[in-house]
């Protein structure tokens, strides 16, 4: 359940950045998930898959990097500029 809220936040961040950079396409998003963050990477992946339908992240490749901390960090976006 908690992963759905995080996925919603991630989509909002990606949409803001896409608008700022005037792009309609995000090829890849990199997320760092700490082992002690309480976030299940697989559950987050499923949540993002469901919620991203129709959003800027619909066809985006999700790259999850597992770390040893408590963070859940949107590390970077790979965008395509026209």
């Amino acid at each position: 359940m908690h992963e759905f809220s995080l996925a919603t936040e991630v989509i909002k961040i990606a949409e803001c950045e896409a608008e700022k950079h005037k792009t309609l396409s995000v090829s890849e998003i990199t997320i760092e998930v700490g082992n002690f963050s309480g976030v299940e990477a697989d559950a987050f992946k499923s949540a993002l898959g469901m919620l991203s339908e129709g959003s800027i992240l619909e066809k985006t490749r999700l790259h999850i990097v597992k770390t040893n901390g408590t963070e859940f960090r949107v590390k970077s976006l790979l965008i395509e500029e026209e």
Binding site: M1, H2, F4, S5, L6, T8, E9, V10, K12, I13, E15, C16, E17, E19, K20, H21, S27, S37, G38, T70, E71, F72, R73, V74, K75, S76, L77, L78, I79, E80, E81, E82
Partner: protein, 262 residues
């Protein structure tokens, strides 16, 4: 506006529609001589990839806002309790009884969190305390930003007590610091004594556990000692109070605990 990073303010972007044309009547024409021809059309159909480094830690943003909430409470000498539990444990009933008992000596405020409806806020208002309801929609917990927004709508008196009744859920609320001084977990005897083992995070992060619905103990297979033993395996500092919000049994211990925190 994006609530996370604050970008995308209304009016900051312009929409260009390439299909939109302007036809104007005019009495004159523009003729230009060109010294060159365009006989080699070419297309720009290649794209450039670019990495945008963000480094936005979503969870730490909550902690930062929770810290600001805590500072607000300390500045006004407001004591804040975050009540967490599974749905149906009796949080609102405990709160109603608490308000009735303490309202004569302390100003009490309540922030209610539910996915939908104003049912709980109405109950609290009837009990005599000002309440603000936060409906989280599909959200499964309250976060510090929601509390910050609610605080801006409440003119909380100095020296008062604020109860935050979180969304009924034993998982997600454990992850989100709201800025409270103490987290109070309300469990009920109908939930089973294995809950601390199944949902350890919420037991780990709570200070007090109220075991509610003690009036049902003769009818359910719940061993209070076993429940407490399991909870102490997770959090050995946890305190316990057994009550029945319905009959009032044990509630004085809870009221005294609150007063001891002031």
């Amino acid at each position: 506006m994006c609530e996370t990073c604050g970008c995308g303010k209304p009016g900051e972007f312009v929409i260009y529609d390439p299909n939109h044309t302007h036809n104007h009547d005019s009495d004159y024409t523009h003729e230009h001589d060109h010294g060159h021809t365009h006989d080699h059309p070419h297309e720009h159909n290649h794209s450039h990839k670019k990495i945008i480094d963000l480094d936005i830690d979503i969870l730490s943003q909550n902690n930062m806002t929770a810290g600001l909430n805590r500072r607000f409470f300390e500045g006004r000498k407001v004591l804040c309790f975050n009540l967490v539990s599974s749905p149906g444990s009796g949080k609102t009933t405990v709160l109603e009884k608490t308000i009735s008992q303490l309202i004569s000596s302390r100003k009490i405020y309540v922030i209610e969190g539910d996915q939908q409806t104003l049912i709980d806020a109405n109950r609290i208002e009837k009990a005599g305390a000002p309440a603000i309801q936060i409906n989280t929609g599909s959200g499964c917990h309250l976060d510090a930003k929601m509390i910050d927004a609610a605080l801006k709508k409440m003119d909380i008196e100095a020296g008062s007590v604020l109860f935050i009744e979180n969304v009924g859920n034993l998982v997600c609320p454990a992850m989100f610091d709201l800025g409270e001084h103490k987290r109070v977990l309300i469990a009920s005897v109908t939930e089973g004594e294995d809950k601390p083992l199944k949902y350890p995070k919420i037991f780990e992060t709570s200070h007090l556990c109220i075991i509610n619905k003690s009036d049902l103990l003769p009818y359910v297979d719940f061993r209070t000692e076993e429940f407490m033993k399991n909870a102490r395996l997770i959090n050995h500092q946890m305190e316990f109070i057994t009550v029945s919000a319905k009959t009032g049994e044990g509630l004085n211990l809870w009221f005294n605990w609150i007063l001891s925190q002031i």
